[in-house]
Symmetry: C2
Subunit: 130 residues, 2 copies
């Protein structure tokens, strides 16, 4: 029993105890779906999170959203372009697109499994304790 | 088994981003239910966690369980006694009981709300993304 705990620490650093789905994966799932749907701007997506989860009293930290975008970029699942708007005030916009649809699907499938596992874990807690 | 718990009073707000229910609350919920049901031994409860969640590939860290017991003790919701078994090898057992049933119920009700909110958040993610 004690041995297992030590082993897990070494082998699985990211999600050591495997409790519920991590916020980063949850955020990246929404980012991918929104980019697929053609909502390309990072800033808008942050506001979309606020609107989407207002009812749940959940508000992802803005750095969580930008780290999510960064990881998807690093993994080659999305790409980013810059649009320079010329006008009275020059403005730069960052635009995200899916770069690798197969990888995007694979990632979403993996997150779905963790979502289902998490929902099962929480429903079990309701059944067992109430 | 000694519970050498380093006292760490959490200064930060409990659930800053308010994502999903925290593992500590989840663990304390099960501890309370098991103590109510007359499973009084800390060590057995740790093993109960392993058995209960084996299917979900979730294994709470043993310090998480002992910190949960410690917090319930500190809040006066449970009490601990020691039983000294005399025999060939003297053995000490720690036994937990509910001390304040009203507080136990109040705490469980509060955890239930956070469980329901968390389940709603995860179900929404499934609906929105798949």
């Amino acid at each position: 029993m004690e041995d297992n705990i030590i082993e897990e620490k070494e082998v699985k650093p990211r999600n050591r105890d495997n409790f519920l789905i991590k916020q980063r994966a949850f955020v990246k799932l929404y980012l991918l779906t929104w980019i697929e749907q053609g909502r390309p701007y990072g800033k808008e997506m942050l506001e979309d999170f606020y609107k989407t989860f207002k009812h749940f009293n959940y508000k992802p930290n803005h750095s969580e959203v930008y780290k999510g975008l960064h990881e998807l970029l690093e993994d080659g699942i999305i790409t980013r372009s810059r649009i320079i708007k010329e006008g009275s005030k020059r403005k730069e916009l960052k635009v995200y697109e899916i770069a690798n649809m197969d990888e995007a699907r694979r990632y979403k499938k993996q997150v779905k499994e963790d979502l289902d596992r998490s929902i099962g874990l929480l429903n079990k807690a309701v059944r067992d304790n109430f």
